[in-house]
Symmetry: C2
Subunit: 416 residues, 2 copies
Amino acid sequence: MTNPLNSLGLAARLAATELASASTVQKDSALTLMASGLLEKKEEILAANQIDVAAARQSGMAEALIDRMILDDARLNGIVESVKNIRSLPNPIDRLIGEVTRPNGLRIEKRAVPLGVIGIIFEARPNVAVDAAALCLKSGNACILRGGKDSWQTVQIFVAIIQEALTNAGLSRFAVQTVPSADRELVGALLKLDQYVDVIIPRGGKSLISRVREESRIPVFSHLEGICHVYIDAKADRSKAIAITMNAKMRRVSVCGAAECLILHKSIVPTIGRDVISSLIKAGCEVRVPGELLSLNTSLKTALDSDYGHEFLAPIIAVATVDSAEQAIKFINCHGSQHTEAIITEDQATADNFMRHVNSAIALHNASTQFADGGEFGKGAEIGIATGKLHARGPVGLEELTTYQYRVFGNGQTRP
Amino acid sequence: MTNPLNSLGLAARLAATELASASTVQKDSALTLMASGLLEKKEEILAANQIDVAAARQSGMAEALIDRMILDDARLNGIVESVKNIRSLPNPIDRLIGEVTRPNGLRIEKRAVPLGVIGIIFEARPNVAVDAAALCLKSGNACILRGGKDSWQTVQIFVAIIQEALTNAGLSRFAVQTVPSADRELVGALLKLDQYVDVIIPRGGKSLISRVREESRIPVFSHLEGICHVYIDAKADRSKAIAITMNAKMRRVSVCGAAECLILHKSIVPTIGRDVISSLIKAGCEVRVPGELLSLNTSLKTALDSDYGHEFLAPIIAVATVDSAEQAIKFINCHGSQHTEAIITEDQATADNFMRHVNSAIALHNASTQFADGGEFGKGAEIGIATGKLHARGPVGLEELTTYQYRVFGNGQTRP
């Protein structure tokens, strides 16, 4: 059976070949045109968005979900600023990653090149279309977008504006495409388009990510869950412990870097542990603890086994206790999702050991798990966070959207 | 249905966790014990190998294939030297890959860590077992070996010696394991052991690699074919063209870096082209050309369409002609296998353009394609060559057997 996305995939592959050698000036000019196009067509975008929002309301979608898809002046300006920010980042292509001159005189360069074609599957937030397209363009990759059906009209007009910008910058408009309909079968078709697509990046909830990981024959950059832990060690500083745990849990409860579990060294339970817990409760967090900790505070709930290794994405935290940092490491490697973990301690050796042994993309010492973000890592922008081990781990920014090629410079060398 | 390799996979995972934090001294001491064990048990190894060879002869295996599996004193010494060489390489783990200090004072290190558990599936050559185990050990990875049934006894004794070395170095013997039988179903089981295995590396012929790529849910480092091209440009130097083409094709015809296709710029066909072709013919190479070139030499054969994009692995080469370097690039990107391509020219701009635009892991200017090798790239040793785009591209050495972790050092930072 022919893949219904074959011709779209071929067009993307050809555009990717062209884009791989586009100059910085050309790519940046497309991004400039993209930003101005979004501002010029503001009315049309907002009108398309209103159609999407009305349809969503009619279908009975919850207002909290509808809020994610609504665009207004402020949000549209935010999208434009994001495009301008991506334009201002250094071109990651042709970057010299390594260089060696061999005894026979061969000079070997390892240079960054684009991955090729990236498939991006996302849900309600239409801004992902523009963000992803801008990041792919800057990194010389063509992309195929598949937005959720709820934001369909908004994404279509975004893509039309982006394609016009590409054309006006002298680049192929097939560098940014959208699948032709919201038909769910096209998600399956995209996941099987391995002849043309090099990487799939899903952006959305757990069920989407699961489906993509299950069905895709193409490598996937994603995190299924962010089950992040904060471990407060025996040698923790009280005020750091409170400030970091509060921030890790409560700054924003719905982000993947939010802490879902607090691990307390038994020796500090009655002192720092009690204070951290009472701060969380005062801030409106539900704290679920093992039976022996219930006496610490009258508002505590009993933790069930299923609360560990669970991503609440809500003002709820599970608390566990351990006898040692080693035990905390084992607990995390058993219950975590290889995303982000923090240790709070004044003991550098304990911190070093913890960071080396937790099996996660990001390990922090005396800092909040909510720093798990490409921007905070100095990457300028990110397309997501990956918890797999291969190629991209942690924040996926422009650099992670590249691969490399070895270029070998000789003057007639032959191999003995 | 339970995977029959589950318990073996779990043991590998636990050993990998331990190995990830093994010191350089400990890993090197295991490699030293491995080398001495192989020498001490030489008689037993050769006896086991004779059983394999006798069984292969009895089954009517061709002598050329049997030769690949035979061990003798010299070959065994070569295997031991390879272990010693791997021991002498720098420990790739904990290598600082990048570092940034953020305005908020967070210091972010990007450090190399092992991939975890590597599954290695190979065919007749028993030395692959030792080589792969040594590379995995040095890079802190556990491995699960599945050798071909023809070398079964030899591989079993190798693994027993390696496990003894691991134990005597204080490491888990489960860091290097072999599947329990040569049953082909266990290959399928290993390819589905994604819960425990991080990467699969197949070493063998095209049918093995195809099967692995088709069946595996686990990322694969491999090259299916090495369809390497040499392009002789209009501005080529005659003596470089002859020397490099001869070396690229004839040095060893059975390696993946051997040239399979020669592309001639039409302007040099009657001069350099004729000389290169006559050198190839004199050296015993069958040269297959388009009809219009047949008059160049009476020994020429006519090329069929199927000769392009074909891996001969024999003293046979297909010749194509082009009007420009751009056409050569298109020809390669259409018929190649993204492995290794060379351009011969004295024009630097043409060379740069060629190297940037061929869609292959390795591009060479005025040097032989047979340099496609981890040792020649200064990697010390390699476990194979990968033509995929993700993670490892080109020679796969110790560095490519690692991934990374971000370690973030704070002093109480919280995210605004």
